[in-house]
Symmetry: C2
Subunit: 85 residues, 2 copies
Amino acid sequence: MTAYTATVTVRLKRGVLDPEADTTQKTLERLGFELSDLRSADQFEVDLDAESADAAAERADEMAQRLLANPTLHDYDVVVEEQGV
Amino acid sequence: MTAYTATVTVRLKRGVLDPEADTTQKTLERLGFELSDLRSADQFEVDLDAESADAAAERADEMAQRLLANPTLHDYDVVVEEQGV
């Protein structure tokens, strides 16, 4: 078994309103920053032991489907790295 | 000017309690998943026009310092990519 870190990034699907991101963008603009768009996402870094990077990715994918993401609202992606490399 | 996307990832510093991440981890374990740790982070994807990738990174860094991160609680990193590449 090898120790991996799976990073699951959960984003709102295009077209889903994100008032928090809108407020953050407006506040940055009020502070004088110029930007054309701002999107927010949640990221989960999961440490887990698995036989292979593929097995770790599969388990993280299942975690996203079961709990971390809501398929109606969210898209997600999973990136796996071996720990300490 | 070139269009860039700056991704600012804001994490709690080591040692700062994160009850939401703890609850997420416990819920995953209750669902039968084995994991050794889970950390959560906020990610902001900022679209902006700048003269260079360095200039875009500098501005995103300033946004993190002014608004997106709280230096007492958070560490952050900034990754800049040219749009549409």
